[in-house]
Structure formats: structure tokens, C-alpha cells
């Protein structure tokens, strides 16, 4: 049997199997449960990596659930696909790889971080379920299944954010997130219903091939863009994001960062692959750009005044998501204009997607480092910290690398993707680039403050007994650091091999549709 063919299904089946097995394995004790947890996370990462290699080598992979053959998208005489289809193009594989790395690092980190709490079989179960939901959102080719996976990941994350249920703030954050994401998911379901009512199809590629702009389509587009922007934390609907990120256990926060990227992926997929040029007016692209600008500026403005370390990093997430929205919005704005597309549109999309990858890596690393500091000191308020660099050298170095990357200091990977976004948004209007630059400067200022207060400066007396965190936590952070440094040291390789195939796959609407609608084997 050719396992390569089954990779998309395995990518979902492995974490799901792990989620089902976790309670059983914890009957065998702590070691068995941890071994299963790590093995499943690592295997998922491997599958995601191989899937990515396969997609880059052989083009779009798709998988028909329950079909006679896994590649039979249009069985005998059917004009439209009827089964559930997973479709993995370079963009999906790229996002899935990014999510799987974050999931693995978070799992490794959680081994030590969570070890003193009870209820860990449920934790492992929900964590793997969240991974499965996130990967499902990234590789599904069906708009209703997108809704199902969004709900799987949301329900798992409600449970995980409120995992420390004896903390009032955690329960409150979880409730807030539950409300907002439930309203958002219902909007997505309404949009799926609108599209189904119009075309009798749920497959994204099939809808894309038949799409003609009308009232129902506009309604569906507004619902989808609004709710997905809400789920990835754009400005006016961002209030759940810092709360949820700050109150969740840190290993989970690392995964939640990747889950918000899955919503961003959904936004990109709907705008580019389903609607594409048919989007017509410039209203939706400008809406996305304005969301991006507002998130960038207000996110960083609110981050500067925070004292709580994880909350501060959470507000920076809002502002970083703005960059990606800006890049994607600029790309969408000039999608119908081949000359402008070649000139700066592709750069904008590449920059946005590369920033999504970079962002997931360094933001997850920042959260893990903040969690390590919390684990070692028991404090979250920046005013209570100081001089930790001597006590926790490895954490300090990794935090420094991540904060240099998020501030966009020149050699680091954050700089590469931000530069692409500055260049391309400048071509649309200089104001966009100015806002992006100002945000970057404020981000740098904010992280200089954090690093200076927490890791440098005089040692606090109460922190005398602080020691470096255990090795598994360091290993979790090291995984992400290696990725960040790899992207930093080989910027041209990573641009041409990681980001550009994904960007080409995103703007290539006919390729995405043709893979499914082009015929059976």
C-alpha cells in the first residue's frame, strides 16, 4: 500500500486516535500517557513534514473520504464532488507544518510545565483534539467541514483555557472566548448555508468554479470575512485574544497561536480560492486592510501599557495579526490586475504568509519563555521581576532571539517578512507602510522594556532561589528557536522554498479548482 497517498487522512487520524487513546493510556500510569502524548505529537509532525515534501514535489494532493479510491474526486458521471474531500495544496501543507511544529513544541513544554497538576489525561486528550481540529481546518476542502473542525478546535480550546478552573480569570476568559467563537461559528454556518442554497455544493473548489457574484454570495462573504477575522483576533473583535492567551496554560497558548493562524488560513482560502477575482469591488480588500491597520496600531498601543507579561505578549499578537491581514489585503486588492500583481501583489501575499509562519514560531517561543519565567518564579507581573538573565541564561537567550525576531531587527526572520510587507503596501499607499513601520518601532520599544525589566537590572531579593527550568521545557523552546534561527540564517532559501510556493498556490485559483474538478484519477 502506498502510504504517501494516505498522508492527508493520517494527518487527521493520528491526533484523533491520540485524543481517544489518552484516557485509556493514563490507566497505565504517567509514563505511558506521556510517552503516548509525545509519540503522537511527534508522528503528527513527521506526517505534516512528509506531506509538505510530497506536495512540493508532486503538486496538489487530495483525499476522498470513503471513496472507492482515495483519488476519485468525481465518481462515475458526477459533475460535482459529493464526498468529503481533503485538499492539500502548498499553502495548506505549509500552514499544517507550521501548526504541527507549534503543537509538538507545546506538547514537549507541557510535559514538565503541567506535571504538578491533576487531570492530565483530559489535558492530553483535549490538546490532541485541538491539534486535530486545527490541522483539519487547514487541510479540508469542504466549507461545512471547515465549520466542523473550527468547532472541534473551539470546544477543545474552551476546555483548555479553563483548565485551571479554580482561577476565576481563566473561567471568565474561557466564557468570553466561548461566546465570541460560538457567534463566529454560527456566522460561518449561515455562510455555508447561503452557498449551499445557491449552488447545492459544499466543496470549496466546486463552489469556486461555479461562483457568480450575487446577493447571497455577498452575504456569505461578509459573514465569512467578519467571523474569521474575529476568530484570528483582528482589532474590533480582539478582546478575547489577550485574555485567552494569558489565562490558558502556556503549552496550550503556544498551540492557540497556531489555531488563530488556521482561521487566518481560512480567511485567505475563502477570499482567494473560493471567491478570487469574482470578489469584484475593492470593498472587501480594503476592509481587510483597514482591519489589519487597526489591529496593528491599537494592538501595540494597548500592549505598551501592560504589566502582565503574557497579556502583553497577547496584545502583541493582535498587532502581528494585523501585518498578515495587511499583506493578504494588499494581495487581494490587486488580484485582478496582472501587472500590479507581478509588481507588488505577489510580494505582499508572500510577505503575509511568510509572516504567518514566522509569527507562529517566534510568538509561540515568546509565550513559552514567558511561561518558563512564570514556572520558575511564580510571577506574571513585570514589576516583580528583575535580573533573571543570570538565573535562567538559556531562557533569557531564547527570549532575546524571539523578541529580536518579533521587533523585526534586521538579520532576523521577522525583518524579512516585514520588509516584504512594507515594500508592497508602500506601493498601494505610503500611509499603510508608515503605520506598519510605526508599529514595528513601538513593538521594539515594548520588548526592550520587557527584556530590560525581567531579565536585566538588579536582582530582586525574593527571586534568589530561582533556578533554570527543567530540560523538557528547554527542549520545547529549543525546537522553536532552531526553526527561528534556521529561517534567519537562510532567508533566501526559506523564501523561495517555504513561502513562495505557498503564495503561488494561494493566488492560483484555477489550479486549486482544477485539482478537484479536473477529473478522477
Amino acid at each position: 500500500m502506498n502510504w504517501n497517498e494516505h498522508l492527508p487522512a493520517l494527518l487527521l487520524a493520528l491526533p484523533l486516535l491520540g485524543a481517544f487513546l489518552a484516557p485509556l493510556c493514563s490507566l497505565g500510569g504517567k509514563t505511558v500517557r506521556n510517552a503516548m502524548f509525545m509519540a503522537i505529537s511527534f508522528l503528527t509532525l513527521l506526517v505534516a513534514f512528509f506531506l509538505w515534501r510530497t506536495v512540493l514535489a508532486e503538486g496538489i494532493q487530495y483525499y476522498v473520504m470513503g471513496g472507492e479510491g482515495s483519488r476519485l474526486s468525481l465518481p462515475s458521471g458526477m459533475a460535482v464532488p459529493v464526498r468529503i474531500i481533503l485538499e492539500v495544496d502548498a499553502l495548506s501543507a505549509f500552514m499544517a507544518l507550521c501548526g504541527a511544529i507549534a503543537s509538538f513544541a507545546g506538547a514537549l513544554f507541557s510535559l514538565n510545565y503541567m506535571s504538578r497538576f491533576t487531570g492530565l489525561s483530559r489535558f492530553a486528550s483535549l490538546y490532541l483534539l485541538l491539534t486535530a481540529g486545527m490541522l483539519g481546518m487547514m487541510i479540508t476542502g469542504d466549507i461545512f467541514n471547515f465549520f466542523v473542525f473550527i468547532e472541534v478546535s473551539s470546544i477543545a480550546s474552551f476546555g483548555l483555557i479553563a483548565f485551571w478552573r479554580d482561577r476565576p480569570a481563566a473561567v471568565e476568559a474561557s466564557f468570553k472566548y466561548a461566546l465570541i467563537s460560538q457567534v463566529g461559528s454560527m456566522f460561518i454556518l449561515v455562510a455555508a448555508g447561503c452557498l449551499y442554497g445557491r449552488y447545492n455544493m459544499l466543496n470549496m473548489a466546486a463552489i469556486g468554479s461555479a461562483l457568480q457574484m450575487g446577493t447571497m454570495e455577498k452575504l456569505a462573504l461578509v459573514f465569512l470575512v467578519g467571523s474569521l477575522a474575529m476568530k484570528c483576533g483582528a482589532f474590533p473583535m480582539h478582546m478575547w485574544l489577550p485574555d485567552g492567551y494569558a489565562e490558558a496554560p502556556t503549552g496550550v497558548t503556544c498551540l492557540l497561536v497556531a489555531v488563530s493562524q488556521a482561521s487566518l488560513y481560512g480567511l485567505a482560502r475563502v477570499c482567494f480560492s473560493v471567491y478570487g477575482i469574482a470578489i469584484g469591488s475593492a470593498f472587501i480588500p480594503w476592509m481587510i486592510i483597514v482591519f489589519g491597520l487597526a489591529s496593528m496600531f491599537f494592538g501595540v498601543a494597548m500592549a505598551v501599557v501592560q504589566h502582565d507579561m503574557k497579556r502583553l505578549i497577547g496584545y502583541h499578537s493582535v498587532s502581528q495579526v494585523g501585518y498578515m491581514l495587511l499583506g493578504l489585503g494588499v494581495g487581494l486588492l490587486v488580484l485582478g490586475d496582472p501587472r500590479a500583481m507581478a509588481e507588488f501583489g505577489m510580494t505582499a501575499v508572500t510577505g503575509g504568509l511568510f509572516h504567518a509562519f514566522n509569527y507562529t514560531m517566534y510568538k509561540a517561543l515568546l509565550f513559552l519563555a514567558a511561561g518558563a519565567v512564570y514556572y520558575a518564579t511564580g510571577k506574571r507581573d513585570l514589576n516583580d521581576m528583575g535580573g533573571l538573565a543570570r538565573k535562567m541564561p538559556y531562557t533569557a537567550v531564547m527570549f532575546l532571539i524571539a523578541s529580536a525576531a518579533i521587533s523585526g531587527l534586521p538579520p532576523f526572520n521577522g525583518f524579512v517578512s516585514k520588509l516584504l510587507i512594507y515594500e508592497s503596501s508602500f506601493a498601494v499607499h505610503p500611509f499603510l507602510a508608515v503605520v506598519a513601520l510605526v508599529t514595528s518601532v513601538l513593538t521594539l520599544a515594548s520588548f526592550v522594556k520587557v527584556f530590560q525589566t525581567a531579565f536585566l537590572g538588579p536582582e530582586k531579593g525574593v527571586l534568589a532561589g530561582v533556578r533554570e527550568v527543567p530540560p523538557a521545557m528547554l527542549a520545547g523552546m529549543a525546537v522553536l528557536t532552531v526553526v527561528v534561527l534556521g529561517l534567519t540564517l537562510f532567508p533566501s532559501w526559506s523564501l523561495s522554498n517555504v513561502a513562495e510556493p505557498a503564495a503561488r498556490a494561494l493566488v492560483d485559483q484555477s489550479g486549486y479548482i482544477g485539482a478537484i474538478m479536473g477529473g478522477g484519477m
Binding site: 487522512a9 487520524a13 484523533l16 481517544f20 485509556l24 490507566l27 483525499y63 473520504m65 471513496g67
Partner: protein, 162 residues
């Protein structure tokens, strides 16, 4: 919650079992009638809700063992569903390898199995899983209510956070 009167309890003794029968009927005919695993499982789970209302939380919660619901029902259902999906992997995940076209002659062992194939078994697996899950939800929420009645949290609840 206090136990209700003897009339209600006797009625419950009598009728609660019919809920199980009715639920099982819906589960195993789920592949060709309205209903299926989820609906049947939800009906079976009302058995526990009946008992809780009639007998009160204290008594019923001392009868039930959550481990049985968790492992015997929920895990078994989930694993069965997963294995059934995996068995079709020769063609594709979730492939219905036991099905046959309408009107085709089925011989030997296959004649015992409905033409709907794995759908029947998946519906039963889902029914088992939903029974366990919904019963667990009812039990967990009921225990949650009882915790408010007591003066403080039970011992294992403290220390969850450091």
C-alpha cells in the same frame, strides 16, 4: 435534589427501562430510518436523567461508576468507530468495505450483514459513545450542583492549581 414520592419512583422503575429499549431500537435501525447513533444514544442517556430526578442525586450518584461510562462506553465507542474507519484504508479512510449494491445477491457470512455495510456498525459505535458521553455530562453537572451545597470543596479539588 431530594427523592420524589413513591408513585414517581415506581413509575420511573417501570418506564426508565423502556427508554433503553427504545434508544437501542433507534440506534440499530439508524441506518435506514430517521434517527441513528446520536439520537438513540441521547435517548438511552435519559435513563440516568430519569433516575436522578426520581431518586435524587445522593442515592443515584452512589450507584453509578463514572469509570464504566468513561471506558466501557465512551472509549469503546470511539475506538470502534476509529477502527471501522481504518479498516477501509485499502481504498480510502472511511471506505464502506462491507456494502454491496442494491439488489445484489449476498452469500455466506455476508448475508448476515445488512447491505448498508459499515454504516450500521458505525451507527452502533456512535450510539455507544453518545450514551457514555451524555451520561457523563449529566453526572458531572449533577456533581457540580452538589458541590455548591456543601460547606467547601472536596479535598481533591483543592491543589488542582499548585
Amino acid at each position: 435534589m431530594r427523592p420524589l414520592s413513591v408513585v414517581v419512583r415506581t413509575g420511573c422503575d417501570f418506564f426508565a427501562w423502556f427508554m433503553i429499549v427504545f434508544g437501542v431500537n433507534i440506534v440499530i435501525h439508524g441506518y435506514m430510518t430517521p434517527g441513528g447513533g446520536f439520537q438513540g444514544g441521547a435517548i438511552i442517556a435519559t435513563f440516568l436523567a430519569f433516575l436522578l430526578v426520581a431518586y435524587g442525586g445522593k442515592k443515584v450518584l452512589s450507584w453509578v461508576n463514572e469509570k464504566i461510562y468513561e471506558f466501557l462506553f465512551e472509549e469503546l465507542g470511539l475506538i470502534c468507530f476509529f477502527v471501522l474507519a481504518l479498516l477501509g484504508i485499502g481504498n480510502s479512510f472511511f471506505y464502506n468495505f462491507l456494502a454491496s449494491p442494491l439488489g445484489a445477491e449476498r452469500t455466506g457470512i455476508m448475508s448476515l450483514i445488512s447491505p448498508a455495510g459499515t454504516t450500521v456498525f458505525m451507527s452502533i459505535a456512535v450510539g455507544i459513545e453518545v450514551t457514555g458521553a451524555l451520561s457523563l455530562v449529566i453526572i458531572a453537572m449533577f456533581r457540580g450542583i452538589r458541590q455548591f451545597a456543601g460547606p467547601s470543596l472536596p479535598e481533591e479539588e483543592i491543589g488542582h492549581d499548585r
